[in-house]
Amino acid sequence: MKITVKGLRASFGDHEVVKGIDLAVPSRQITAIIGPSGCGKSTFLRCLNRMHELVPGASRAGQVLLDDTDVYADDVDPVLVRRWVGMVFQKPNPFPSMSIKDNVVAGLRLTHRYDRKDAPGVIERALRQAALWDEVKDKLNDPGTSLSGGQQQRLCIARALAVNPDVILLDEPCSALDPIATARIEELLLEIRRDYTMVIVTHNMGQAQRVAEHTAFFLQGELVEFDTTAALFGNPRDPRTADYIAGRFG
């Protein structure tokens, strides 16, 4: 297990959105989290790399173990957690002040690991992994924001890969993209699934079925069911899961 979550609760002010979740995320696989909007799946994801606490008024209880280390232990530096557990967001957010290649190495620059000599290799490797290299290799100095939405999102994935994390969290990474761009992202996730542990939040059940080995179904801040993707979709044990995947609510 790469990540073990124990009794995780998270709130905004008085409003509790994650209500005690236990979950074990297997190493070097893709785990999907599905559920209707407002079920707490994004907040749950943001608790895994301590992004949740950046929101004013946010609070949390419970444990998140990365390998065997509790990321919420007193002596843990939350900034270091995010170096091991990277994140890709719903809306592509390349840095507008940087070129394509600077975007790729932005994480290295931000973490004082940038090396001028290594940079070209790092840039090419990350862009190839993100299946973007062929499209941008001739315009690496163009601004990152000049790319199309799907390309921008792959650039953001390349940026996350370049810092060499153990885990990558993906928060509905395709919800702002068209079906073709979505398909390309799914392909690339399958491509890199053996090298990284990935957790993907999605409202698209087809996407979960296409990319994830395991799927968790969240409802109103609680974990209803967690199983292999095939079992969860093929043979749900909980009637609420069955209703949801049959499209009866949400």
């Binding site: 170096r83 994140m87 809306k91 994480g107 004082h112 953001c156």
Partner: protein, 312 residues
Amino acid sequence: MTAPAVGRTALHTPTRGRAARWYERLIELGLAGCGMTSILVTIGIVVILAHESKDFFAQVSLGEFLGSTKWTPIIGDHRSYGVWPLLSATLTTAAIALAVAIPLGLLAAIYLSEYAAPRTRKIIKPALELLAGVPTIVFGYFAITTLTPALRDYIPGLAGGNLLSAGLMMGIMIVPLVASLSEDAIYAVPQSLREAAAGLGGGPFEAIRKVIVPSAWSGIAAAITLAASRAIGETMIVAIAAGNEARFGFDPRQPGQTATAYIVDISKGETPHGSVAYQTIFAVAAMLFVMTLIMNVISHRLSRRLRAAARA
């Protein structure tokens, strides 16, 4: 009181309807007239400055005005009209002011937007606004009675009226302007970029240096340009504390006379309308106007670029 029903009755009673329509037209014209005032004032400034300095440049060549470093427009046998003494003092005080206001203002802006707790922010922001509301004459008084004597203890050879105190005081005066405009620019940086930086494992300091400030740069540059324009146009501090001696030089310990201080100096005395001295202040004001106008236009462009970037 006309009831809102007038619009409806207009359908039935054409005479009243026509009167009402005329009334509406009249109001709109009146309001448009109010709006036009801003254009008229702009034109007025240009025409008045151009008209009065035209007579000046009929007597003094532009080459002498911009090329000579001697400014003796009202005293002595040989009058000389080189604007450089006024310009050197203006540039020196403005440079000192910016050297104070840019770092302090930017740091204060970063502190307020990225680090300060909400409660601290609630105290510091109004306090800076208070500083911004202090009339410049008050800063002038403080510079001449307190700042200069204090500085003279540390800086040997500092004149009683000097460019340094005036520039420093001006810098403090401009800090709130730089701080508030830069904070707006930093605030406009989308939250998603901060999250992206955090998600990559960047600490707050790295995010500020490598993502937030670069993303807000056009807005910060607009703030700095506007601050420069303010520093060049600022009058009372330099009129009181800079020494009022039109001498060419960039030594901040020495007295000097800025363009604005010269205008005040001449205006304080009896200057007959139409005399050369009267014309000089318009020529100097025209130069001042052009300098600040250029900077304001640049600042305006930059902040428009920021707004466009924030929308994207």
